[in-house]
Symmetry: C2
Subunit: 306 residues, 2 copies
């Protein structure tokens, strides 16, 4: 079984693979675009898949945009996409707090305005967005005024993350009844030109260390983000293909949820890393072996046009 | 052997223990004081030990004060102490960068003005102290101007810690030749009244996650902080007693370095935790079992005055 995985997706293999699925879930960054540059040919693939009757979804760990902002970016780059097809961790975290946690109260949010909007959209009131400058001394920090209606701490990407926000999260999380949710664990965000900036994982680890608690993570590879799509669109996992550039998030998600998996080599992970996982004896690493890999999603196009 | 450890230090046991050592190393917070309140009787113990000819050292993971600031605080609270007897992680990190790393260049410092002073005192020029407000967009953060003389990143306690500082540390640490040092891994700082605030460990974990590298940690339980004292004063580890309130830092340091160990119950750790470690089969946890425990350091006083 293992030996048939991690196969290069040729044109001849593409057709039966596409015939075997009804829905294709795409990671965005590193698969459809890098920064603000679309991967050449990616939009034609998405648009052809939809014309051929496949359902397409955009599944991203990025929490810094609302679904609408994502749909707008997709449209601008030539992708045929609607807001309802976008599952970002801002939106999915709001759904998680509402539907799984059944939250009755406010959220202390380490995150962006986009996350605030997604929470408000489902009727949850966030507090804490924006800068939180330091003042006073240690004793003041430990006794900082808290909002007594807060029932959860949600951590996503926040460029205003600071010691004071870390401290505020700790003071809320000292209450064991306060729920603790994170959008995703990505350590870095890759940008064009091989540079990276710190990702939400750095912020979340910091809060976890302070609170000595583990957050419930909503994004890939957590099953919840797939369940969020599957429950809204009635998906059968066996008839789904997950396409991504990261073994530890995209491919792991596919393995966790029983989806077919395809690694695109336009982003973070390499075939060598996938093969090393395949050779290892570790069950966790076996989950980070894709069924197929491909240089770029654009390489599916001939199979779609034939 | 293990069964003779974790013994209550009675007055009868105190005398032979004190006779068996020449030097006593004290943790400060949770042992000699809590916040700005001295533990009653602690200063009499220190002053009597010194009168009886013992060497006394103050060994703290706190990086937010210089040796002089510590000596001043000790003096104000009634302890007979000089700057040279104080080993804080600000000072020890400076010694580490100078003597172990043989640093030839500047340091990007996530830390306090006190740390800056300790570095300058040994001839190392730090950059980065103080607030570092966010501006621009992701691409600007990845291409932030760096000081090309920086050869190390040092992380200590910094109330101005922010996303921008995390990003700047990552950009320096992308260079594998850039050294990476942390003062200590304490997750929280306990204050009076049972409250806590985030400690340096939260900041350091965040930077480690971003850089996907592990820092060399200078503070307890790293051997370096003891070696720093031992090399300056010619200490024989077997003739030293480490007194602390934390199993994971103070007692672990003593075990790592072959010192006798005494847990004072005026701070973080409990006898129950020490006993649970003693019962475990885990070699790491066995290092977190003290030779002796005592309610408060003040309880040594009768043995000293007899």
């Amino acid at each position: 079984m293992a030996s048939s995985k991690c196969t290069r997706l040729t044109e001849a293999l593409s057709r039966p693979l596409l015939d075997s699925v009804d829905s294709v879930l795409f990671d965005c960054d590193g698969v459809l675009w890098r920064g603000d540059q679309a991967i050449p040919g990616a939009s034609e693939v998405i648009n052809s898949l939809k014309k051929s009757g496949k359902q397409v979804f955009f599944v991203t760990n990025n929490s810094s945009k609302t679904r609408q902002m994502y749909a707008d970016k997709l449209g601008k780059l030539g992708f045929d996409a609607s807001k309802d097809e976008v599952f970002g961790t801002g939106y999915c975290s709001a759904m998680y707090l509402k539907n799984v946690c059944k939250l009755d109260g406010k959220v202390y949010l380490i995150g962006s305005n986009a996350m605030r909007q997604e929470l408000e959209y489902v009727g949850i009131q966030p507090v804490g967005v924006g800068p939180d400058p330091i003042s006073g001394v240690q004793k003041d920090w430990a006794n900082i005024p808290l909002d007594n209606e807060v029932r959860a701490v949600l951590v996503g990407f926040d460029e205003h993350f600071s010691y004071m926000k870390l401290n505020r999260a700790l003071q809320y999380l000292c209450n064991p009844d306060c729920q603790f949710v994170g959008t995703n664990m990505d350590a870095t965000l890759p940008l064009e030109g091989g540079k990276t900036i710190p990702g939400t994982g750095c912020i979340l680890r910091s809060v976890e260390t302070a609170a000595q608690r583990q957050a419930q993570v909503v994004g890939k590879p957590s099953n919840f983000i797939f369940e969020c799509v599957a429950s809204q669109f009635g998906l059968n996992p066996e008839r789904c293909l997950m396409v991504g550039d990261r073994l530890d998030t995209d491919i792991m998600l596919g393995s966790n949820c029983g989806l077919k998996t395809l690694l695109a080599l336009t982003g973070v992970s390499t075939v060598a890393e996938a093969e090393a996982n395949q050779k290892s004896e570790c069950p966790q690493r076996q989950k980070m072996v894709p069924d197929y890999y491909i240089e770029s999603v654009a390489d599916i196009l001939p199979a779609l046009q034939a």
